[in-house]
Amino acid sequence: MKVRAADFLVYDQEKGVYRENPEQVVRDDVEKHYWLHVVRSIAKDWRLYLMLVPMLLVFLFWRYFPMYELLSCFKVDHSELEVSEQLFSGFSYFKTLLFGGDALSVQFWRALRNTFIISFYGLCFGFPLPIVLALFFNEVRSNGFRSVLQVLTYLPKFMSTVVMTSLVTMLVKQGGTTTNMGILCQLLVRLKLIPYEVGEGGLLNQPSFFRSLYEISGIWEGAGYGSIVFFAAIIGISPTSYEAAQIDGANKWAQMRYVVLPSILSTIVIMLITRIGGLLNIGYEKVLLLYKPETYVTADVMSTFAYRYSVEGSGQPGLGSAAEMMNNVIGMLLVLGSNVIARKATNTSLY
């Protein structure tokens, strides 16, 4: 910090002498008796601090204690190990998962790959669509009609994962002796997009359809609701900007390119950071409700892998914790990294 003389001395014009800056005296006092100052202001505002307590306790007990519990992935039973192995024994779960070479390790790598693929598809298809929807909403001039459209498109977001996955399950279910196949299967068969036998088998039973079903249902669920933020940014643009562009001879596309896009860029960047931060936090609930042993090949992600090995049945908590630890550390690095890049590139950052 730069120290300036004016911080310490001020010129007293009446007496014509320099004397101590009274503000700095207070500042010095606070610095000298910092803890006294803390105690005093807490005593004065104790109600304010009391208000914080319930929230802090909830987060401490049920958000931070699990993080401490996560360290169990480093806790290995030492008694069975040789002395020479004990030094790095804390990493034995990681070693088993990463370099085990057996079925477990193969499943781990499969889950890691699936996590990246599913979230990458989600980013490619799920992220731009809400922006496009917001641009479309902006074109609808009638307020009533737009409200109706908005209410309908936000709607799926408020359905539970159970309801959503039940609907998906029913719409693509297999045909059997007593019931016919799901209506979406029938539509796809009629349009000759899939052969009859494939529809007959039920799309959820076949690994090759899992990711598309996952992404499409995700878009169905979230695209409309995701457009709210962008739409709010677009209607915030001053009409004079459009008028100026029109006078300069800009057509619709040029207006999009030079007026709308720059105005909502900061919103896009922020939403992108948020999105990348949650990239590896795939909704395990949805995957758990949709996948089956037959589709593990394409559907099993890190959290479901951890769940199967550590929660279901008797379980090995250390193993699942180690898998999730890796997943979440990568996720945190992604969010912090994208934040730094965004700040460098566009001067906008979330944190």
């Binding site: 202001s41 109600r47 304010l48 208000m51 914080l52 319930p54 929230m55 802090l56 987060f59 007990f61 958000r63 699990p66 993080m67 519990e69 169990s72 929807l133 479309f136 909403f137 609808v140 109706v148 459209l149 309908l152 498109t153 799926p156 359905m159 539970s160 159970v162 309801v163 039940s166 609907l167 029913m170 719409l171 059997g176 007593t178 019931t179 209506i183 695209a223 409309g224 709210i228 933020v229 739409f231 709010a232 057509n251 619709k252 922020i270 936090n281 395990y284 609930e285 951890a306 769940y307 550590s310 929660v311 908590p317 699942g320 999730e324 979440n328 945190m332 906008t348 950052s349 944190y351």
Partner: protein, 296 residues
């Protein structure tokens, strides 16, 4: 020149209207289909004759569901969890967010970081599961044997919602607060009489978020509630779905409605309360979810 401008605009407008309408109908369609299927006759459902409107009306699927006691148990459990869960979450969040919105709060940066960090890094399913198991032991030792209270108190907090509230409170001009204090208002009165009325739209939105997530909660309820009488509606629906899609049951099925209708009827019943409340609060969304606090 003028004419060319109109044509590009017109094309874009037509595209917007068409695609938006299609998407909106696609969002609505599964629910209409579910409703129609739940009240259609068995033959029509099993041979996929339902496309949009119901056929061979029957209401047996609904009436047999309503006559089932476990359905009502599940429904009342969900109501319990939603009501108390939302109250508890709003109570802790509003108090916390109010304190965080005050510039004079010491260690404000630390408390904010304490919240935001949970958005970057979460422990994951397994440690959380172990943590809830431990919490249950503590709760039982204290004398709260009902797992419903575990779900209400320990689950469902969201840092994002607290930040939304905090930003709304920060937007209230401090002059109004000072005026209230001069008039002799206590801290609590300032909160309830000044801040809450002035950030109504955010409070409505956040309460809706909490309420919906409680109503829709499934995974942890299924993991933690071992007693069938405590199951909320979502767990009940899932168990029924697993039951009704089991070939052993479907082959010996002899009701006037199809097994599918039973599932669709359940889905409709779980969706209706959300459908009733949501349009009223929908208009606050754009205003209420203003994240703000962007560092430029």
């Amino acid at each position: 020149m003028k004419r060319k401008l109109e044509i590009t605009e017109l094309i874009f407008k037509i595209i917007s209207y068409t695609l938006l309408t299609i998407f909106a109908l696609a969002c609505l369609y599964p629910f209409v289909y579910a409703l129609s299927s739940s009240i259609s006759g068995r033959h029509a459902v099993e041979y996929s004759q339902i496309v949009l409107l119901p056929k061979d009306l029957q209401f047996e699927a609904f009436s047999s569901m309503f006559s089932n006691n476990s359905f009502w148990t599940a429904y009342s459990n969900t109501l319990f969890i939603t009501l108390y869960g939302t109250i508890w979450a709003m109570f802790t969040s509003i108090l916390g967010a109010y304190a965080l919105s005050k510039k004079r709060l010491l260690f404000r940066k630390f408390f904010n970081f304490f919240l935001v960090f949970t958005m970057w890094f979460s422990a994951g399913i397994v440690p959380q599961y172990l943590n809830y198991l431990a919490t249950r032991k503590v709760f039982q030792a204290v004398g709260i044997a009902d797992d419903k209270w575990l779900v209400v108190i320990a689950m469902g907090m969201a840092a994002m919602n607290i930040i939304l509230l905090r930003n709304a409170f920060e937007g209230v001009p401090s002059e109004i607060e000072e005026a209230a204090i001069v008039d002799g208002a206590t801290e609590m009165q300032v909160l309830t009489n000044v801040y809450l009325p002035m950030s109504k739209s955010t409070i409505a939105t956040v309460a809706l978020f909490f309420g919906i997530s409680r109503w829709n909660g499934y995974f942890w309820a299924r993991q933690m509630m071992l007693n069938q009488n405590e199951h909320p509606l979502q767990v009940y629906i899932r168990l029924q779905l697993e039951r009704y899609t089991n070939p052993d049951l479907t082959s010996g099925w002899n009701e006037v409605y199809a097994t599918d209708s039973a599932i669709y009827a359940l889905i409709i019943c779980s969706v209706i309360p959300v459908l009733i409340i949501y349009p009223f609060i929908q208009k606050y969304f754009a205003k209420g979810t203003n994240v703000g606090g962007v560092k430029e």
